[in-house]
């Protein structure tokens, strides 16, 4: 019973989030900086280059890294203040075990022994697959490779998955189906060469801020900007064509645009004929999406759909960028395919200024899924169900293909399996489902049902509250390895400091668990360099081929784009040149997309659409960023965005508390009344915990192919909940919203 041992308030008092505002030693500290480390930001998939200033084994500040070509010194506020996660009062420096009275320190060796004993007991009693592993995509590729291999050979369980399942998998699946390969089609250097930039479901300014400059560089050359979003996000404010669509109607919008391209003959006939198959079926699938039908479904005026088709169709070059806004749906894969169809219809692949790219959200979203911690993939983006792929990996790993488990359950499915009694124990690293998974109440019930739950983390997250055992792991700046960015560029992460106290580098913990389980023979590594060298060997000849990369090359060449099969290969920034796609016949697939409405519909009881997303100052579940004072100051608590027409109808003034309820849960937060959101939609950002999770409301329905949850659309109702009277403590933290006083 992994029930939290103390009250929420007691846990927060002891383990945070507390707010760190100043560098180690304070602003007046005059300790000499003794090294400056070139590395990358720990947060999003842009992976901006950054220099960390180090003094006395602590990161004390940053400097822009002007020479790193992706961002040339540019950073968002999270990157600027990222160093404040180090030397933090909440940092776990010993392993902890849960007791009746709370968490108590436990020696590292004892923690390993107890975890190994529980793994054995659960697997002996209920079978190998009853113990699962859930990992994350903020880890280096070396660690993600290790997590997958540890699950499959160390533990022998099929059930390993990762939090990229909540992020990029719809795009991954669609790219693979249509183009034969799961990677953004281009490096970002093609964006400024585009004559039209189409952004679908991506709040670029807040979620991929550095990409803003790439788009402006295109616009400085005269490019037009189309943005499709239910909200006028900061970049959308300046768009040439804004498509303010109803949540969950993306593929109808794209289908209608495809129809318009056909009707106006804005097609690349030569490209379609010679380099694609399936065009006629794709067009037939959208035949019923006339302008008026599309206006009815999407809520976007027909004139703007025409304008978008003209801008996209007539330009000589164009890129389409998409992200979670179209991907987080029960038809997320179909939405991405509908975008790819627009790219294929206009021949926008394999040449300068052209491409259809997903903007990967997590630091190592790309590397994290392609090197073997995804439930259905083996290293090199190989398919776990493909006998040839299994044989290659098994040989490298010194086992028979029969020793490799088959595909396991995805992240969300694992939580359902806990409730069903099929999964009894779990090892988790680098993810916080109590904030990040949909339907928080269901997640809590599942965690409470686990017989044994071990977590590796550097702070005690809200999920860690439910752990039986917590290993103090490593921060980004305490270890080294590589990550693969949104561009498909593999870059080197360099260590700046060593882990404090009894904290260990994450891979050391995994190797010690394998030793305890008697499976150490599969993991003959002295460190991440050995793991990387194995990745090079294992991925040789695979789709995601890293064989030609070395840590030294990655540093010297500012990263390399896979595939990079040999040490003299320059890497592949732009895919599909020729054009030649990654399917055996070299052709891309148009896939028919019939628009499917969202799994949950609005009705009289829940009459409004809810969509969720991020704010610039927080990252994902906030385990790190809710502990960094200057970032918390910027946007301290979730606000419920709604249009003044809705606010008027429900008698809600800006700043009033509003209760948002769905079929799964409810949340009370202050209203932000703005004209920048559709009048039938409310928006809540999702980074917070302890009753402030937007995911209390969201729908855990999954896309049937990608298994991504439908975070971006569900049905809710609104009720006014009184005036907002925030109470702020001396750290500037909002400790109550005043609800208690009224109760």
């Amino acid at each position: 019973m992994a029930r939290a041992p103390l009250t929420e308030a007691e846990l927060i008092e002891r383990y945070g989030p507390h707010l760190n505002r100043t560098p180690p030693g304070g602003w007046e500290n005059e300790t000499e900086v003794d090294s400056v480390v070139n590395t990358h930001c720990c947060f999003c998939g842009q992976q901006c280059g950054i220099k960390l200033k180090v003094a006395d084994n602590a990161v004390v500040g940053f400097e822009p890294w002007y020479d790193f070509p992706f961002n040339e010194g540019k950073l968002c506020p999270k990157g600027v203040k990222r160093y404040l996660q180090g030397s933090h009062p909440d940092r776990l420096t010993t392993s902890l075990q849960r007791t009746a009275g709370g968490f108590e320190p436990i020696g590292y060796d004892a923690a390993i022994d107890r975890t190994v004993a529980e793994m054995r007991r659960i697997q002996d009693t209920y079978g190998k697959d009853a113990f699962s592993v859930v990992s994350g995509s903020s880890l280096t590729t070396e660690k993600t490779y290790l997590m997958g291999k540890f699950a499959r050979l160390g533990l022998g369980t099929a059930n390993v998955d990762y939090n990229g399942r909540l992020c990029m998998v719809s795009a991954a699946a669609a790219n693979k189906k249509a183009l034969g390969m799961d990677r953004a089609s281009n490096s970002w250097s093609d964006i400024p060469l585009a004559d039209v930039v189409f952004v679908a479901g991506a709040n670029i300014a807040e979620c991929a801020p550095i990409t803003t400059d790439y788009i402006w560089r295109a616009r400085d050359r005269g490019a037009s900007l189309i943005m499709a979003d239910p909200r006028v996000t900061p970049l959308a404010r300046t768009a040439d064509c804004f498509l303010g669509l109803r949540p969950g109607t993306d593929s109808a919008l794209m289908g209608a645009i495809l129809n318009q391209l056909v009707e106006r003959d804005l097609l690349d006939h030569d490209f379609i004929e010679h380099h694609t198959v399936g065009f006629d079926e794709a067009v037939a699938a959208v035949a019923d999406l006339s302008l008026s039908a599309a206006q009815e479904i999407t809520g976007v005026p027909a004139s703007r759909i025409e304008q978008a088709a003209e801008l996209w169709g007539r330009a000589a070059t164009g890129v389409l960028l998409h992200a979670r806004g179209i991907e987080h749906h029960s038809n997320g894969v179909q939405n991405v395919l509908s975008c790819i169809n627009l790219g294929l219809a206009t021949g926008r692949y394999g040449k300068p200024g052209c491409g259809v790219m997903t903007i990967t959200g997590q630091a190592n979203g790309q590397g994290g899924r392609e090197q073997g911690q995804k439930s259905d993939q083996l290293p090199g983006a190989r398919d776990i169900g493909n006998p040839d792929h299994r044989a290659v990996v098994a040989e490298h790993w010194g086992v028979t293909p029969e020793d490799l488990p088959q595909a396991g359950l995805s992240y969300e499915e694992q939580f359902q399996a806990i409730l069903d009694g099929d999964i009894r124990g779990m090892l988790m690293i680098c993810t916080n489902p109590m904030v990040a998974l949909p339907d928080t109440n269901m997640v809590r019930a599942a965690l409470e049902k686990l017989e044994f739950f071990a977590v590796i983390d550097f702070f005690l997250s809200e999920t860690g509250h439910h752990a039986d055992l917590v290993f103090a792991g490593s921060l980004h700046e305490e270890d080294e390895g590589v990550v693969t960015t949104a561009e498909g560029r593999c870059v080197k992460i360099n260590p700046a400091v060593t882990p404090p106290g009894e904290a260990r580098r994450d891979w050391e913990i995994i190797l010690d668990l394998a030793r305890g389980l008697g499976t150490q023979r599969y993991f003959p590594y002295k460190g991440p360099r050995d793991i990387f060298e194995e990745i090079r060997r294992v991925t040789s000849g695979a789709v995601a081929d890293y064989a030609g990369m070395t840590w030294e090359r990655l540093e010297a060449e500012h990263g390399l784009f896979w595939p990079c099969p040999t040490v003299d290969h320059p890497g592949t920034p732009r895919l599909y040149e020729g054009p030649r796609f990654a399917h055996p016949d070299g052709k891309a697939r148009f896939l028919p997309v019939r628009h499917q409405p969202p799994a949950e519909q609005v009705d009289a009881e829940y009459p409004l659409w809810l969509t969720t997303g991020r704010v610039i100052s927080q990252f994902l579940s906030g385990t790190q960023t809710r502990r960094i004072g200057p970032l918390v100051d910027q946007y301290p608590e979730p606000l419920v965005e709604l249009h003044p027409r809705l606010a008027e109808r429900f008698g809600i003034a800006d700043g009033d508390l509003v209760r948002v309820a769905s079929r799964r849960g409810e949340l009370t937060a202050p209203a932000q009344v703005v004209e920048t959101i559709r009048p039938d939609t409310v928006f809540v950002p999702y980074h917070w915990a302890n009753g402030k999770q937007a995911n209390l409301l969201t729908n855990p329905v999954l896309d049937p192919v990608s298994k991504i949850p439908a975070y971006k659309v569900c049905a809710v109702r609104l009720e006014p909940a009184g005036e907002h009277r925030p109470v702020v403590d001396d750290r500037g933290t909002i400790i109550t919203t005043g609800e208690e006083e009224r109760a």
Partner: protein
């Protein structure tokens, strides 16, 4: 190359030289990277000299950054009774000198751009000095370095016109007084003509982003 230049990483310029600071507020995405980066400077640690205003969140996501404009004839210096505000030979108006500033706030009241702030904690005025520690040795201000949208930009006018749209302007009229500044703003011509609509494509969405005037309010069940 001095050790400092090496540390900051850019040294092709001897000093501030002919580089100018450019504010293009239309590009601002309100991310606060400039504010957060400014607060990292050890000379005013934890405190930002950047101003970043949200124009009217109820109707728009427009935000507006503001720095010291570094006037050619700085009013703040003119009205300072303690002669605490100096302008460097290369045109950067320094923040108040700690030893001279008497905290009278004359400059705060007089600045036509509303930039200097009186800081009670130190009983003195503080403002942006265009990161003189960085710019005087050839590097860039911290805010322009980090700005993700390059709404804040630093370089020569030639570089600007070679890569960016809009015209630079550094002349501001306050009543009868014309103020010229080291910092330039960007004046935008009407945007590229949209061939399909037959009108300028800028600005497009601010007035009616969801087309309510065109197709009415979306239905919401009662």
């Amino acid at each position: 190359m001095s050790e400092l230049e090496d540390f900051f990483g850019r040294s092709e310029h001897a000093g501030v030289g002919d580089r100018i600071y450019v504010l293009d507020q239309s590009r601002c995405i309100g991310c606060n990277a400039c504010v957060q980066a400014c607060s990292e400077c050890e000379t005013h640690g934890g405190r930002s000299m950047m101003h970043l205003e949200t124009v009217d969140r109820a109707t728009s996501t427009q935000t507006a950054p503001m720095v010291c404009m570094h006037c050619d004839d700085p009013t703040c210096a003119e009205v300072c009774p303690a002669d605490a505000i100096k302008k460097t030979e290369d045109g950067v108006v320094q923040s108040a000198e700690k030893s001279r500033c008497i905290g009278c706030s004359n400059c705060v009241i007089a600045c036509p751009f509303g930039v200097p702030e009186y800081v009670p904690e130190f009983d003195m005025m503080m403002k942006c000095n265009m990161c003189y520690d960085r710019t005087s040795v050839g590097s860039e201000p911290m805010c322009t370095s980090v700005c993700p949208s390059q709404a804040l930009w630093f370089g020569t006018p030639e570089e600007f016109y070679a890569t960016r749209q809009g015209s630079l302007s550094n002349e501001f009229q306050f009543g009868n007084r014309t103020v010229t500044t080291r910092v330039h703003t960007v004046v935008h011509e009407p945007g590229p003509l949209d061939a399909f609509l037959g009108r300028s494509s800028q600005p497009s969405v601010v007035s009616d982003p969801f087309g309510i005037d065109e197709i009415g309010l979306p239905e919401v069940a009662r």
